[in-house]
Assembly symmetry: C2
Homo-oligomer: 229 residues x 2
């Protein structure tokens, strides 16, 4: 038995799809594998459970070990259990997803396993190891269904933002244009946003007003939900 | 090794929470174990994966074997992986949930495993084996969150029903009263229901009109979602 399999549960693993919104793009955190199997391939942070460890604990430990990212809210996506997903033997994996502001985290390739860590645009991913593309697609599907009825911007936007910036986030996640007037109306109707007495400093002429989230309303909508369109 | 463990994956299982709505109550399908471990205890239909079998395939096979229920839509709830959930060794289980009309299924205790199969009111469950109470609670939480933004009545209601009956379904699932006028207004606004030219035959005086679901709108709302209140 290979040394890296000692004290692990050999048929159970966790994998993380970490989404970030940066430079008006939806990105996913990947690392380049430093060892076999799949040495040199890009992959989702993930790996085998240790004995006595829960799936989510393993996800957090490995995320930290391969990318340096800690203190993150992980949500379960699904179990992936195709028979041939990790040849030559059978491994189930539990997929998690997370939403973060990339700037908040210092990412570093650490340890033997990872030689490089990078954010990739979700629609410009390199080829991924194993069934990780399927895990990404399932997580993306879940994220898209989520944004239609839960507020998610708080985890992804800067503290102050303009309405066009917020609309861009939704358009990028949903991968389609939204009607500007309806979006604005809907967002204002929900009382989710507080208009500030400041304008976008990056735009000198006709600059848009800045907004921030009303955390009380935000948390209420997390529970109650809404319909974006 | 016990005979019943032959050809199984000894650390992986599936369990099903089957919800039904009958006599204006939300019910859950349980079976009584005919063999050890936990002989005599009530449990969710579930068991170990066979080699070469997916979690959902195992769930369907075992559901059929213990209760006679087939052809059912199963949705993944979560993985349950507490270290001590299946002493003396460690077993992960994937929980599934389903919504059915109890009358549609002929339930039968079949095979060695189950000596009895019954529908129990969700708030009058007997003590359950292992961590099955936790699996039920998690599935119930998911169901409650689902009914607030997806239509679910089609799977649970008879073909024709009155608005008070539909409101009862929602009140039972959510375990709290809803305002009659708002419920009615919301349901009619969504164009989800077709009013029939018939009245409730079980109620002779001042009988309520019968309705049925508009399947086209229903399927659209499944994707798009709505907010119940």
């Amino acid at each position: 038995m290979a040394n890296w399999l000692k004290n692990t549960i050999k048929n159970a693993s966790s994998d993380c799809v970490v989404f970030g919104f940066e430079d008006f793009s939806l990105k996913i955190l990947l690392y380049k594998r430093g060892i076999n199997p799949c040495k040199g391939a890009w992959a989702l942070p993930g790996g085998f459970l240790k004995k006595g460890e829960l799936f989510e604990e393993a996800a957090r430990r490995i995320l930290k070990a391969t990318t340096g990212v800690t203190d993150i809210y992980l949500e379960e996506v699904a179990v992936f259990d195709q028979l041939d997903r990790f040849p030559p033997w059978r491994v189930f994996t539990v997929g998690y997803f997370a939403l973060v502001k990339p700037g908040k985290y210092k990412i570093t390739a650490t340890g033997l396993d990872s030689t490089e860590v990078r954010w990739f645009k979700f629609n410009e991913l390199p080829e991924l190891a194993w069934d990780h593309k399927q895990i990404v697609d399932t997580a993306l599907h879940k994220l898209r269904s989520l944004v239609l009825h839960k507020p998610i911007g708080l985890e992804l936007m800067p503290n102050k933002f303009t309405l066009p910036q917020l609309q861009t986030l939704y358009e990028v996640v949903l991968d389609r244009p939204l009607d500007r007037r309806n979006f604005r109306k809907k967002m204002i109707q929900m009382n989710l946003l507080k208009k500030l007495d400041e304008r976008d400093p990056n735009n000198k002429t006709n600059a848009a007003y800045l907004y921030k989230f009303d955390k009380r309303v935000y948390n209420k909508l997390i529970t109650k939900g809404f319909i974006l369109e």
